[in-house]
């Protein structure tokens, strides 16, 4: 389902697609925006106010497909590139897609038509390219694919190394469970051992193993250690004894300190 895979269900797609007759009449926008998020540029962008105004910024867009003329204005404005314009044209279906990649295809070029999982489903011909910050590329595919095609890719794909390389014997110098404190090379195992030895506050760990005392001032290690302490003591982090964050945020040269000009009164 959408929340797990990022691909909308067929039922969700059907309910944002206009009726077949509308698709015959001419281009119409389809907005695959299935989540209430704070975003309303599509409504503002429509010259025909075919996208009904939002009551609340988190509303999902609703198109009055009688008013919509498929002018692409909203395609360029949608931050999520969730809008495409589709229409039937004889045996074909014309699909106008937002495109933010270089190089742009050329008119007449044959490309792969992709479904919502990025898999090629058929060839497609590029019928029009409108270049811009968000370019709009319209491609023609067989009409029965109007609800399937959602993207395109060039014919020659860059070869991607096949996925499963079990046989990679790399002389792996990895510690067993990863570095927690990068400045002092302390692994998760080191931290867990010290905690189980009875040092159950950040400050004790600091004194014992200088964790959080390096140049990074504990930015990457202290949050992880808090998690470990919280699990070990079965206490929520907010109830743990916090550590102190002392001056200075980034190191400063003693010579810069010594040359400090007390009298300066402007930056």
């Amino acid at each position: 389902m959408l929340e797990r895979s990022g691909i909308p269900e067929q039922a969700q797609i059907d309910c944002v697609f206009p009726a077949e007759e509308r698709l015959e009449k001419g281009p119409v926008a389809v907005i695959e925006c299935f989540e209430k998020i704070p975003c309303n540029p599509c409504a503002q962008s429509c010259p025909k106010s075919a996208i009904l105004p939002f009551v609340d910024i988190n509303d999902r867009p609703v198109i009055d497909d009688e008013l919509c003329v498929g002018c692409n204005a909203c395609i360029k404005k949608c931050p999520g590139l969730a809008i495409m314009v589709v229409e039937y044209s004889g045996e074909k279906a014309l699909i106008k897609l937002p495109h933010e990649f270089k190089p742009l295809p050329e008119k007449g070029q044959i490309v792969n038509a992709l479904n919502r999982a990025g898999e090629p489903v058929s060839d497609a011909e590029v019928v029009r390219v409108i270049a811009g910050k968000v370019s709009v590329v319209s491609i023609a595919v067989d009409r029965h694919l109007i609800k399937t095609v959602r993207g395109f890719s060039f014919k020659e794909k860059p070869e991607i190394p096949e996925k499963n390389m079990g046989n990679l014997e790399l002389n792996n110098t990895n510690e067993l469970d990863g570095i927690v404190c990068r400045c002092n090379d302390l692994t998760l195992g080191d931290i867990r051992k010290m905690i189980s030895d009875g040092y159950t506050t950040i400050d004790e760990l600091k004194q014992l193993a200088r964790v959080g005392m390096g140049p990074c001032q504990g930015r990457s290690c202290i949050p992880i250690i808090l998690g470990e302490l919280s699990r070990y003591l079965e206490t929520p982090i907010k109830d743990l004894l916090p550590t102190n964050f002392r001056p200075v945020v980034t190191s400063v040269k003693l010579s810069d300190l010594a040359e400090h000009d007390e009298e300066r009164t402007s930056v």
Partner: protein, 93 residues
């Protein structure tokens, strides 16, 4: 995205010349020259490279013009700079 690159300059890394653009930082220039390992950790001598790229951590520390422990990811590139990898905790010059 178009990038207004500064003019090209050269600095040395462990003796070898590396070209970079004015306005880049040392770590970025080395990254562009396909140098991934920038530092070695003191205790277990593990390879370290760019991690946060904004000066929060300490994984990109090198010797720059003789000064040790310089965070090269926020150190602007200058022509003729001498950048060396730092084998230990660094010495006073």
């Amino acid at each position: 995205m178009d990038f207004k690159r500064g003019e090209e300059i050269v600095f040395t890394f462990d003796g070898k010349p590396v070209s970079a653009f004015e306005g880049e930082t040392v770590a970025v220039a080395l990254y562009a020259a396909n140098v991934r390992k920038l530092a070695t950790s003191h205790d277990k001598h593990r390879a370290r490279g760019i991690y946060c790229a904004i000066g929060n951590c300490a994984s990109c520390m090198m010797i720059v013009d003789g000064t040790p422990n310089v965070k090269t990811c926020v150190e602007p590139v200058r022509a003729g700079m001498v950048v060396e990898s730092q084998p230990d905790k660094g010495k006073l010059t």
